[in-house]
Symmetry: C2
Subunit: 492 residues, 2 copies
């Protein structure tokens, strides 16, 4: 042990950061360039890297190093984050960690086959095992108010079931009548493609560069399920997979991943090679992707700048289409079955449903066998759609097959946070709309960099929100934003 | 510790293999797709992965596990290889390992600047430090006959300075008069391009697939300095960088890397996730690349099949050029300054020179400041060329800047071994030439798979050679091959 406790802790964190770096890059490679038959060896290698990182995080010596560094004056935000990582890793027995990993690995093909066969039955035992593991996991944290808190906090430190429940109740209360009112109005119709993928790529990269994508520190590649990952602040990897029938993935998906990437890219260099040099939570991360994809990327101001360029690239498809009709189409609201295809208005209700079912499963008030019926009933109540079978219902997402109960809420939390940040940015940057309309995204980028990105994990999502808005999680701004947006688009 | 010592050792080796896997893939990424500014974080991550692997290799508990597994009947070839790794890692103090790594890292930019400035002086202190470190390294192995043996054996287990010296003496004795005789004959002239890079890629991939490249388990990407690496037997990565003025890299370079890749690809699956599931030495590895690049890839039999296809792809460049003139051009012998551009006849003399200087530096009979003069004098003696300055002389290669004395000889050892294997393959596969001429490379691929590739590191290069040829390292077959080849081409 070094005589400098802060340096000693930083050395441990650097090693962990390096392991996470290697894990991220081999994970990226697996989803982009790895030959198909490389999967078995890659799975083993990724598992070992994860295990080594977990062992180091759980190591009692790390706990001692954290205490010593805290006493020596290390940054309190860093101390809190790394202590949380350490205690979480140390509290959960490695036998349970292994059981959860093995169950998740085994579940993937069972889930895929169940979905392909549109049959929940073969998947039920897998989900039961995951629920049992998640309850055992929650039991490792007896101090939490609700057992689901322990699962939620894996992805959203500090969040509580009660807090999410309250925010989601407000959201549901506001969204259901808004969606019902929109349903009374004429449908704006879809854009008529095809939109050649090479031209989508050109436009998406031009937009991404305007947001902050820099060719010397970012990459854009193809992956079946687009994602963002990084090898540190100066090695940001985003992915896409264009479909010529729509701009949803090639343009809006890239803006979404660029938002995630910008977060990691703008973290203060002082947190390089630590475990706090990354996004503070999945919810705050998702706030950044949704803010850029939707609040910026589907706005009239943004397209007042970019639409002429889009018309130039797609002259036969968009040349004769007025901007107003383009905006109406890219903002169409249509209750539907599939979460990943959902629009801004209906998306969060898909999450409300998943959250309710997860909580009930953990509380034991819902049995796994009853999940499909509960799903279908709630889809009807919340969105008025009828589920034709589990493939388009409970089996649509992989998250439960991964055993990741507690993950889904972060998608809606991110949307709520995006609403709060968007409102605050307008208040603090009076020229925001005009700068976006002029194609200048730097004021927003810099404002997010300073208030959201720079601290990495040294500030919690709640602290970031309070510093920016003066209050905590609040669904109000998102609802105001959506009401104003759809008021203009649909006259509701 | 498990009650099964073999399983216990295999678990340790699996973890090491996984670390090597991660290190290989992040290294590949660094040279292919990583954004430029990602280099600093990548360097740290790669260093940590290497260090973790080194610590585990040096761990006394690994030594105990090796002994126990040996007693329990583990494969003797595996035991020998992993014990060698362990003892080598355990013998060298970690302070020296760190000093060597740091010196190598610091040397890269100094070497590059010295080469750019065509000035040896700023590089001399760096090389002096490397020589001192290498002598300290050699001193960790007092049992070797010659201190340079310890350096050589980092790359070529079992090889000795005396053995290399003898093989190289025979080589030099045979090559110098052969090259002199060729110099009396008319130069065959170069191929006249340009050869569009996309067509080179097409042809190279068709050839690589004939050798054994399989799209489900291999990749071909671009890298400034082409290389081969792998994420295991079913994830083979080769790289190229075509130059439209020549087929040297785009065709022959790809055949070279395909030879390396085929070796890793054909190792027996029983060695998956162990540290012996890779090439047994750099020399044997190089024998595979050179055999496919030169002995197969520049042969009349090979091109009797492939030349019509090449003429189809390059009709204006090759359409009117007779096969004989094509073969003469791709096999032109011209003493020159730069090793990586050297032809089959002169290549090994570049290595003889480097070997002599390395041995003299380690023996202390040559001072670093005298290296450029020694280099230039020996280039004149061996190849009859005059070195205009260190950039095209002693500074041309990065290996010494990496601190890797002992590495260069493996290039010529590989060429010698390729000659022995090529001769043995002809004896054991009477239809070899006709199968190659018919485009069927499977008999040679399978023969190499069985006799060279399958055992991985469980057999040494010497054991492989003895099993195939009945004898050890022998420059004779290479000289016979070259004499026959150039006899036909040049009438010498």
């Amino acid at each position: 042990m070094s005589s400098d406790p802060i340096a000693d802790l930083r050395t441990r964190l650097a090693e962990l950061a390096d392991l996470h770096h290697a894990g991220s890059i081999i994970g990226w490679d697996q989803q982009t360039y790895m030959p198909a038959r490389g999967a078995a060896a890659r799975g083993s290698a990724a598992g070992t890297i994860d295990r080594l990182a977990h062992e180091r995080t759980a190591d009692p010596a790390l706990g001692t190093a954290i205490d010593a560094a805290e006493a020596a004056g290390e940054d309190p935000g860093l101390i809190r984050a790394v202590r949380d990582d350490h205690e979480r890793a140390a509290r959960v027995p490695s036998s349970l960690v292994t059981a959860m990993t093995e169950a998740a690995n085994a579940a993937q093909s069972i889930w895929a086959a169940a979905r392909a066969g549109d049959d929940f039955a073969p998947y039920a035992p897998v989900l039961r095992e995951h629920v049992a593991n998640c309850r055992a996991y929650a039991a490792c944290f007896p101090e939490v108010e609700h057992p689901y808190d322990a699962l939620l906090q894996r992805f959203e430190p500090g969040a509580t079931t009660a807090g999410v429940r309250a925010a989601f109740a407000t959201l549901q209360e506001g969204l259901v009548p808004l969606i019902a009112a929109i349903a009374e109005r004429p449908d704006p119709g879809d854009l008529i493609g095809p939109f050649p993928v090479a031209d989508q790529r050109t436009l998406a990269l031009e937009m991404a560069r305007a947001v902050g994508y820099d060719d010397s520190a970012w990459r854009l590649d193809e992956a079946v399920h687009p994602f963002m990952t990084s090898g540190g602040r100066e090695d940001i990897r985003i992915t896409t997979l264009e479909d010529e029938s729509t701009l949803a993935i090639g343009i809006f998906g890239v803006l979404h991943e660029t938002g995630h990437g910008l977060y990691e890219h703008q973290i203060d260099p002082r947190w390089d090679r630590t475990t706090v040099g990354t996004g503070t939570s999945l919810g705050v991360h998702e706030s950044q992707s949704r803010l850029w994809e939707n609040m910026v990327g589907r706005s009239p101001a943004f397209w007042s700048h970019w639409y002429p360029r889009a018309q130039q690239l797609f002259p036969t498809q968009l040349g004769a289409l007025p901007l107003e009709r383009f905006l109406a189409s890219i903002n169409a609201v249509r209750p539907s079955l599939i979460r990943v295809d959902a629009d801004e208005a209906t998306y969060c209700l898909h999450i409300v449903l998943r959250f309710e079912l997860e909580v009930a499963l953990i509380e034991g008030t819902l049995e796994v066998d009853d999940v499909p019926a509960a799903w279908d009933a709630r889809m009807h109540e919340l969105l008025g759609v009828d589920v034709p079978g589990p493939a388009k219902g409970v089996l649509q997402d992989p998250h439960w097959a991964w055993g990741e109960l507690g993950y889904f809420p972060t998608y809606a939390l991110g949307t709520i946070i995006a609403g709060q940040l968007w409102e605050a940015a307008h208040q603090q940057l009076p020229d925001l709309e005009s700068s976006i309309a002029s194609g200048d995204l730097a004021p927003l980028r810099d404002w997010l960099g300073e208030h959201v990105h720079a601290p990495g994990r040294t500030r919690t999502g709640d602290e970031i929100l309070r510093a920016v808005t003066g209050g905590g999680l609040d669904s109000g701004p998102l609802l105001r934003y959506l009401r104003e947006k759809y008021g203009a688009l649909y006259g509701v």
